[in-house]
Assembly symmetry: D2
Homo-oligomer: 152 residues x 4
């Protein structure tokens, strides 16, 4: 999507990074925020035995968790300073097993909106220097303004 | 769906429980297999600060992870003894914040098939004895037979 | 979901029926509004050669079209008198071919909300007196208030 | 996705065009097959009052119908000569009202597979020479081989 998005909040990166830091789930799974740009966020996740399913691959739900954060924060970069972001729904297609040394999840805004923002995510497995697309996501995010306890 | 499903594998429960035990991700998030019936599986998950998002609620991805396991194993109960189950895609609608003492995820088969099985999931938050529906899932599962490394 | 919904608009049925009448697409495909209850709408569709795909079954998109209307209007029954309903997204799982004399699509609200309402749909084929579940839908609907041109 | 797909069937275009011709639903809605390439299909649809919802915009289901055909046939271009394609599920996000003189739906394969092919679709409205993205789709398609009555 070669659409250059204009953030409403000049301080979007600091706001997104601070919020990501507060997601204990990201620390638990070992995810880190690799890139934050207007309408685009990249999350990286190393392989961890603790996050696997029965065949030793990364659990689809963990791929989904990191993708959900990438998509939610991609939406958040374009929201007003005081708004919170809430995921209404997401859908994941799993294209290949979660096998690799590390994983890169990218969320890119397709359509920003005052209330609803639609984001597409892609997850790649990185194995011995080779990248492989392993999952795609579509996520619908909602801007929450003026609701106590739901900020950033 | 009050359809009584007939399992092809009389030993389905032992097979599903053994596979669940091998999902390190379930141990990591503290999930346990609460019920295993033909076409229906219940997973329980206690609240854990380690699995939260920025507002202190359970991360949507973690709700999705436990729901994905419930749905995948619900499909697995109806599969042949030597088959493996693979999630092709899942979609989650988040209806309310993941706030509660513990969570119950139920996967129920809507349509079993030789290759494709469709499952519906629901997640409830349990707080001070009160139950609240917080998420729904639709998952498409595939039966994998005769592929090395993908069993159960 | 045996939740008895309380409509905000006592005149919801008349409002929904009037809106359905204005959907030219419903006339084109031969759909009719069979039932309108709080949080629940049934649309019926006869088989028509004109709506088929390459194997002579009803086109998945036409099943989706009637399901989308059933789900959208199910949400609409619970909305305020002057609100419009907009489908944000829907997902269909096709469980069996669209083969039958006629089809019944039912939309049932899972979670109503001020802004977002989540609805589940099911489509059955009716053939020689036998009913068969052929599709399921999850739809996310938005309440639109005070926007010119988007009413009911 | 700049992945050059290699069709298994050198005669894929003729096969896809012949199948599209047999979709009565496409004739009914006025859709035509504008482009057929390996892993990519474009369907065009003129605006028609007969396909509208209550506000005079194209019905979301009709956008979905044309997108579903574009995605299904995009998958079909990469399938063996004697295989049939079946849509297992699709999800549509509606980004803007279906307002325009005509519409272009593009389906592009993200991941082909022996059994499962995942396709992404995009719909644009064309109005006074301007293009606007109005919908995105993710569709999961299945290759059906050797099943009587399900061919192409």
């Amino acid at each position: 999507m070669p659409v250059p998005f204009e953030p409403q909040d000049p301080d979007y990166e600091r706001r997104v990074r601070a919020s990501f830091e507060r997601q204990a789930a990201m620390t638990t799974i070992g995810a880190r925020l690799a890139e934050v740009a207007p309408g685009r966020v990249v999350v990286e996740l190393p392989y961890s035995k603790a996050l696997t399913q029965q065949h030793g691959f990364m659990h689809a739900g963990m791929i989904g968790t990191a993708l959900d954060s990438a998509c939610g924060y991609a939406a958040s970069t374009l929201m007003p300073p005081d708004a919170g972001v809430l995921t209404i729904e997401y859908k994941v297609n799993l294209l290949a097993p979660g096998r690799g040394e590390r994983f890169r999840m990218e969320g890119v805004v397709v359509k920003p909106g005052r209330t609803i923002t639609v984001v597409e995510g892609r997850a790649w497995a990185i194995d011995q220097g080779q990248e492989k697309l392993i999952a795609t996501m579509t996520a619908t995010e909602m801007t929450i303004a003026g609701r106590e306890g739901i900020q950033h």
